[in-house]
Amino acid sequence: MREIPVQNVIDAVAAMCIKANTELPDDVRAKFEQAMAEETSDSAREVLRQLLENADLARDTKLPLCQDCGLAVFFVEVGDDVRVVGGNLREAINEGVRKGYADGFLRKSACHPLTRANTGDGTPAIIHFDMVPGDRLKLVYMAKGGGSENMSRVTMLSPAQGWEGIKKFVVERVAEAGPNPCPPTVIGIGVGGTFDHAAKIAKQSLMRRLDDTHPDPDIAAREKELEDALNALGIGPMGLGGNTTVLGVKITMEPCHLASLPLAVNVQCHSQRHEEVEL
């Protein structure tokens, strides 16, 4: 059994929190540049220009890209033949968040749901654990902002509604969200599983690169169909009009109950901040 000192986890998590919040991922930057070249609307180009300038500034000054440094969300894959020594893995991740959010001058946005009292250190993180074969520990972090998360929805469709029902719900949700979630957005879609699982896989979909293609050609085609439909809404960057309403649509589909068609739409802002590390 391979052993990983707990401090390695803490340090890796802290570094991911800071990097994800201050450096725009290269695939997102490439999409901004592509959209700048293709947009015909002046206001759309101006917003994209500001977002690229913002990204350069954040990289050079180490200021966060956005003041909302998100709730810290993790997808963790733990191999059967690896264990963390010297401490508990969950606590190590939370300790890494505390360190990263403090050292990086990141905003701590976790609070009590009713009293709204801030927990003060960005924790607790939302952590999804998965057991996998092998001796590796993979940590994926996303900074999930509240403005876009609030525009997300889970619904239980009837099986008869099928793909058309899914498409209608997604299009109407993005139209209703309009300028609120900082478009151009990335849309993570979970189809199948259960009420809770659909939401989880929708969020997990947001971890994919924007320039990838789904390995299943049928799902890849549906992602393209939805992306075209959403861009045809004309909402554009910041809701000021244009052809770039979404930067990408990512679908994860899994089997569900005979009676069900769970659907989750997780909206992510244009910064699409995430990082991963394998220890």
């Binding site: 913002n54 200021l63 956005c66 403005g147 139209a175 959403l230 004309g234």
Partner: protein, 183 residues
């Protein structure tokens, strides 16, 4: 689309000339307040007490900045989504508030209040928190320090770049989504 340089406090004349789509560079002092701070402001008003800043001609920025690193007056400071403050904005406009700054749609009640009391809603670029912080030269917490990122700050701004989203005569800049062509 016109461009204006305006100073706070804003007057009715300042607001009346603005049309949706105009670009404004704002100078002077603006106040940060978001969800929890607004709730506390309402409690002060209900109790008949003074607010921590003068509402007359004021501009409220819906922002919860990230902490200031050494050598900077403030951290990243982009707008938060405005609709959550829609419950509170009409009352504040009726008491002299002239402008709110945020991102995203406003309710019909807020738009009506801006028509009635000559108010304006400005949009700042969502997510451009690092860039916008460059227009903030000073920041001082003036109330509700216990709210951390949600405390009320007096912020001095220099050429703060804004777009008029809703003007005081009912004009709105946001596009209507084209559901008919989205298939």
């Amino acid at each position: 689309m016109a461009q204006y340089i305006l100073n706070t406090p804003l007057t009715d004349a300042d607001v009346k000339k603005l049309k949706a789509g105009d670009v404004v560079f704002l100078n002077g002092t603006i106040y940060s307040a978001r969800d929890a701070a607004h709730k506390k402001l309402m409690e002060l008003l209900d109790a008949g007490k003074d607010l921590p800043f003068d509402l007359k001609g004021a501009a409220i920025y819906y922002v919860g900045p990230s902490p200031a690193p050494p050598g900077r007056p403030i951290g990243a400071a982009g707008p938060t989504t405005s609709y959550r403050m829609d419950t509170y904005a009409p009352r504040l406009h009726s008491l002299g508030l002239k402008a709110t700054i945020g991102k995203g749609k406003r309710s019909d009640e807020v738009k009506a209040a801006m028509r009635e009391h000559t108010g304006v809603y400005f949009g700042a670029t969502g997510g451009a928190g690092a860039l916008l912080s460059n227009s903030i030269t000073e920041s001082t917490v003036i109330a509700f320090d216990e709210l951390g990122p949600e405390a009320i700050r007096a912020m001095k701004v220099k050429d703060f770049p804004l777009l008029v989203i809703n003007d005081c005569s009912g004009g709105e800049l946001y596009v209507k989504p084209r559901l008919d062509t989205a298939g």
